[in-house]
Symmetry: C2
């Protein structure tokens, strides 16, 4: 027997129903914010990803040489391909340009719960604007996307990399030491941050204040810590404006300032944010984004850019963890001919109903009413229509409500009446 | 500047609009026939495709070794993965099992119009039934899918491989010679078929009758040719039943019998069909399908199976060739604050309207009314809402119809009125 490759998944109709529901809900929310959908290829030239993330990424991705000797890679993420597309074809579009996309991505990773080798992402970019209003709208959209799919318990954290950078300057930490600290800060390993700072010769009291600011949600305290850095204070005031807009214009109140967000990626600049689903434990991050600079790296004219990515699979895991009631696969009507002579007529009735926008299945196995009703239940049919000779003489058919078992006789032309639920 | 890989495509918002329209239309038609959507991984173990199509296929596909030394391949088609999934997980589902799917596929092919290295397919399988009604419904669904997306000019041809096989027997042609003929028959190269038959020692008159039957649409003539083969005559009578059902129950009349359909694939058995868009010239085939046997090859319990694939990209090319009017990307409302102080309120109005199901964009660049109205036109906004201080005092806003230029003042809470088009 053949097996699917390790770390990949097949999706049953029930699972697809969930995925389609979440995707359509997200698509409609992106659309309601004026974002337009685009798509890029499943693989790219390998150098696109090494240019963005360094040669190290080759270890984590599916790369291969095609028959023409070109180095290709299954895309591990969607931002680099979208930026390539933008530089190649979309630079002349009116600004701001609001783009969104869905796509499968691939990482050669150890498979575990919430981490697959083939996974799906939703994402977006807004290009050509860097006002606080634009960032507030972007963050509000990420939050709304996850709320609209039905998640109840999500946590929004907002930081700013320029402020973090300014905090390093307060301690006079050189770049190489900052680099050692960043992964520890990213993982909220407070003890490790403290001991690393002491190893770097920082006084215990200074190290403690630094850690305190990393952990505070109080803007005043942050402001006091970086008071001698006017650029960072300006960034902090922009961050405050964004928070006020979220609260007043977007009615989003449960966010927290979190200066320790680093996104682990060195092309992010300024504002950064993350949305978690606490129900998911260690792999709880659903969404991450912020402002970044990539366009000039890919040969385009530098323009303000911000965006985010949402883990599609984790969003579904989070909904399942909250026991969200997804719509179940169902069919409106199952048509059953009472005997073989009625089969052609049953197919004709099915066609007519489909033309009226109803989903219809028909007994194609000629297996009789009892077995057919059982099958109709198994496919979650709402109604069964029984086509018999006597009724047909009068253009009628028997309609059975599959949940109540009630039956009535209805004229074919009257079914369903305009505006009536079937 | 980085380029996309050869033979792949980026899709702009305008192109995506077309693709989403076609996909949603097909999805809804599949659903109306009681088919349920599934999905399989983008790549499979290479042996899945060599088991189905032979080692030769390696030359035509993207195959590669992963870091664990496994031979993988980007899927060149969707039937083999779906059959693998069926054997692995779906064998116990109630029959008939009706499945459909969309997916990108990959071939290492010379790129040309209508042929890409990454292309999209729609497809379906019906498993566990082989009645004429089932085949008629399957063919009718393929035809309806293409009609429902808006194609006017399509051509449905139906054949049967058992009848073709019986015709070979009339000429006493051994298997190896049949194999030489099949590609010539497939490509309708009449002259080449004739001369090959003569090379095989078939008398000119016999060769001419054979060719005539290949080209006829007249069932009586076919029946006369294979009159001594009862199995083939039974198949022909089933074919006739299918044609009658198409005409009487499905109201599809413009089909033709075409015994020369071979589908070029040796796992097809019995009924086969193709749907062409004559407007597309050489690459005109939009859909191909029929009954086939693959389940036992993949280690499952053999069950009747039929299905078809539709070329998604070619369907769009055919619609474009017929100058089909696709829906244009648009946005309901563009909100413009008259000055910076109004920006927060503009965002709030946008949020409120989005919550009412309206798609809304907002001036995030604070660029004034003139430039904002120009931008609103560029994104195809239907209405512009202008938010000024005086109106706001009375909870009102100015609404401008972007096509007529008409303006009126409306209370925020009254917009849009229930049931009113915005």
């Amino acid at each position: 027997m053949f097996k699917k490759p390790r770390g990949t998944r097949d999706f049953t109709p029930e699972e697809m129903q969930k995925r389609k529901y979440v995707e359509e809900c997200m698509r409609s929310t992106f659309g309601s914010f004026g974002y337009k959908e685009i798509q890029t290829p499943m693989f790219e030239n390998l150098e696109l990803f090494t240019a963005k993330s360094g040669e190290g990424i080759i270890q984590e991705i599916y790369s291969f040489m095609d028959k023409g000797g070109r180095d290709l890679a299954l895309r591990p993420e969607l931002t680099a391909p979208v930026m390539r597309f933008y530089v190649d074809k979309l630079q002349m579009e009116p600004k701001p340009l609001k783009l969104f996309y869905f796509g499968n991505c691939f990482r050669y990773d150890r498979p575990q719960k919430g981490r697959y080798r083939e996974f799906r992402q939703a994402g977006c970019e807004i290009i050509g604007v860097d006002t606080p209003e634009a960032y507030a709208e972007l963050i509000a959209m990420a939050y709304t996307l996850l709320k609209n799919v039905g998640l109840k318990n999500i946590k929004l954290n907002i930081g700013n990399l320029n402020i973090l950078s300014s905090m390093f300057n307060v301690l006079n930490l050189p770049k190489d030491k900052q680099k050692c600290l960043v992964p520890l800060i990213d993982k909220s390993l407070s003890e490790d941050v403290l001991s690393a700072l002491q190893d770097f010769g920082i006084k215990p009291q200074e190290a403690t204040s630094f850690l305190e600011i990393l952990q505070t949600t109080d803007i005043k305290k942050i402001s006091g810590y970086i008071k001698s850095d006017q650029t960072a204070l300006d960034e902090l005031s922009k961050l405050e404006q964004i928070l006020n807009l979220l609260r007043d214009s977007f009615d989003i109140k449960n966010y927290e300032v979190k200066i320790s967000i680093v996104r682990g990626l060195d092309y992010y600049k300024g504002i950064v944010f993350e949305i978690d689903a606490p129900s998911l434990g260690a792999e709880k991050q659903l969404c991450g984004g912020g402002a970044y600079e990539l366009i000039s790296l890919f040969g385009g004219k530098e323009t303000p850019t911000a965006g985010f990515a949402i883990g599609f699979d984790r969003t579904i895991l989070a909904l399942e963890a909250e026991e969200y009631q997804f719509p179940a696969p169902k069919i409106d009507v199952y048509v059953i001919p009472v005997n073989e002579d009625m089969t052609g007529k049953a197919l004709e009735i099915a066609r007519t109903l489909r033309e009226r926008g109803i989903s219809v299945d028909v007994d194609l196995l000629k297996r009789g009413i009892g077995k057919s009703l059982k099958y109709a239940s198994s496919i979650n049919a709402e109604k069964a229509i029984i086509v018999g000779l006597n009724e047909l003489k009068e253009d009628s058919m028997t309609i059975r409500d599959m949940s109540s078992g009630e039956q009535k006789i209805v004229n074919i032309n009257d079914y369903p009446l305009a505006g009536q639920r079937i």
